[in-house]
Amino acid sequence: MSKQPCDMPSAGRTMHPCDGRVVSTLTRRGVVLAALASASLPLLRHLPAYAAIDDVTEVAPGVFVHQGLYEVQSAANGGDIANASFVVGSEAVAVIDTSGSAKLGVQLRDAIRAVTDKPIRYVINTHMHPDHVFGNAAFKQDNPEFVGHYKLARALGTRKEGYLAANEQMVGSDAFAGSEVILPTVSIKEPTKLDLGDRELLLEPQPTAHTDNDLIVTDLKTETLFLGDLLFSVHVPTIDGSIAGWLSVLDDLEQRNVARVVPGHGPKTMELPEALAPQKRYLSAIADDVRRQIAEGKTLEEATKSAGFSEKDAWELFDQYHVRNVTAAYAELEWE
């Protein structure tokens, strides 16, 4: 079986599974291994100088979640601001988001190893954002499939330099050491199941919402739905895709019957449909205000000073992200 390096741009080579072709059912033998193991591994020192990611909770049998802080990346938090999870089957482990640095990824891996020795076969990224992907490097030694939405590779490829520089700046070069952008080796274009042994994960790519590469994951055995950043709680939502698309995805998610959901930012678990209500209210407040202001001929600058401000006291980090959200919403909704 030929090996195809998926972490490098490869001109004119479009071999499965690097090219985003549909993979409807994946098994370990059915996919081409990425030649990631041959890439040089950075030496990752295990020196947790800040809050450690070994704080993981088993929220359902075999389902573990680490909760990130309600903060912006900083030297103090080392980038530990997003939830990171893993699911253990009878044969293998899947990681769902890897936190914001290689060092945090190492801690997450240690937390997995404290629970099980089973091979880490899949590293799934729910979307492109740095606080969910920069821990990927810690798992290269496991030679897993890196799994993402079929638009994740493009999104990460074009943002690679900016993400690396910005996050190193925020958390500091020591805390960020070893972090790198690892592109997906398996791209998900239609609903796909991953077999972990006696349990299956259902992966469903979503239309543009929080970003244009949101992927949700359901552990069918425990009916645990990992929503990534399609669900924020406490931490104000951030729009980096489409506000109209996100509201419509929420309408779909509301109809689902699962035992629990895991947000990208928020408590370890929540329940549908209540979990979605505050975020839906926030996004609707922005959309309603911005649409009205556009109809009144108000400018983008005017909108950023008033739209959605009724939500100010309902969220952490409102001052950091709200104006940016309104800007994105205005630039999108003026084309309706």
């Binding site: 741009p9 001109a11 690679k160 330099e161 900016g162 600058e301 630039a331 084309w335």
Partner: protein, 275 residues
């Protein structure tokens, strides 16, 4: 002129950003180099430019929230009675510092506050400048500092597929003034266009997605020129312009747009009815 500079900046795009945060100290001189003397000489030679004299006001956000969509407004206060000849907007440290140049026509208007607003991409910490040329040839400049650290990431589209859909759709609007005696009206042009900056790497081909952006926008009111605008990819995705013009008989705007592929688009207020 800016072509060579632009190409150079592109190849060192990531390096400039890294230098600005002290990772590569030996290239920091490039990032901090004051480009304005060169830009100024290219655009205006050794003509004198009056600075911050109240003839032109530049408004930018106190804090840049999204470096890909930075609203920028130029106002020419009502006490300035002269006809306008041109307006040039620069962002010194952008890969192409020349954001836009407007050459005004007879329908640009006099007798009230005139303004021009758009949204720009900001690649790094930089000065933004508006240089106004009056009919008598005098030059007046306003400058603001933009604290934006979006870097190259700021240039990336949120949804590239949506951006390419419906390319060229051009929406034109007019806004009548509150006072009917006001000789100045305002208008808006929105152009659906990705304004590709040529810096996005297509990971499937390992090549840069070719640059393609709106380079010329001509606005006429009742057949008379308001302005002809030359623009670059420093203008945000889906270029958006708000401007003032002289009240006319019908106040109908016709807009023609050309991008760097030579493809032409147009829009008008004439076909829009019912408002």
């Amino acid at each position: 002129m800016t072509h060579a500079l632009k190409k150079l900046s592109r190849t060192v795009c990531g390096v400039v950003l890294a230098a600005s945060i002290g990772v590569l100290a030996d290239t920091s001189a490039f990032a901090e180099e004051d480009l304005w003397p060169t830009l100024r000489a290219e655009a205006f030679g050794d003509r004198p430019i009056a600075e911050e004299n109240g003839y032109v006001v530049l408004e930018t956000p106190k804090k840049v929230e999204d470096a890909a969509i930075v609203p920028l407004t130029v106002r020419i206060p009502p006490h300035v009675k002269d006809k306008l000849k041109s307006l040039s907007i620069f962002i010194d440290n952008n890969p192409d510092p020349k954001v836009a140049t407007l050459n005004f026509g007879p329908a640009a208007g006099v007798g009230g506050e005139r303004s021009f607003a758009t949204r720009v991409r900001v690649d790094n910490f930089s000065h933004a400048r508006a240089v106004l040329e009056l009919e008598d040839g005098s030059l007046h400049m306003a400058t603001k500092f933009l604290s934006a650290a979006g870097g190259c990431a700021a240039m990336q589209a949120k949804d590239p597929d949506a951006d390419m859909a419906g390319i060229g759709k051009t929406v034109v609007r007019t806004f009548s003034p509150a006072l009917s005696s006001n000789p100045i009206w305002s208008g808006q042009v929105m152009i659906k266009h990705p304004n590709h900056n040529g810096m996005q790497l297509d990971i499937n081909t390992a090549t840069f997605i070719p640059e393609r952006y709106v380079r010329e926008v001509t606005v006429e009111r009742d057949g008379e020129l308001v302005f002809k605008l030359d623009s670059t990819f420093s203008i945000s995705t889906n270029p958006n312009f708000r401007f003032t013009f002289a009240k006319g008989d019908n106040n109908e705007l016709d807009v023609s747009v050309v991008d760097t592929d030579g493809v032409a688009f147009d829009g008008t207020t004439k076909r829009e009815s019912g408002s």
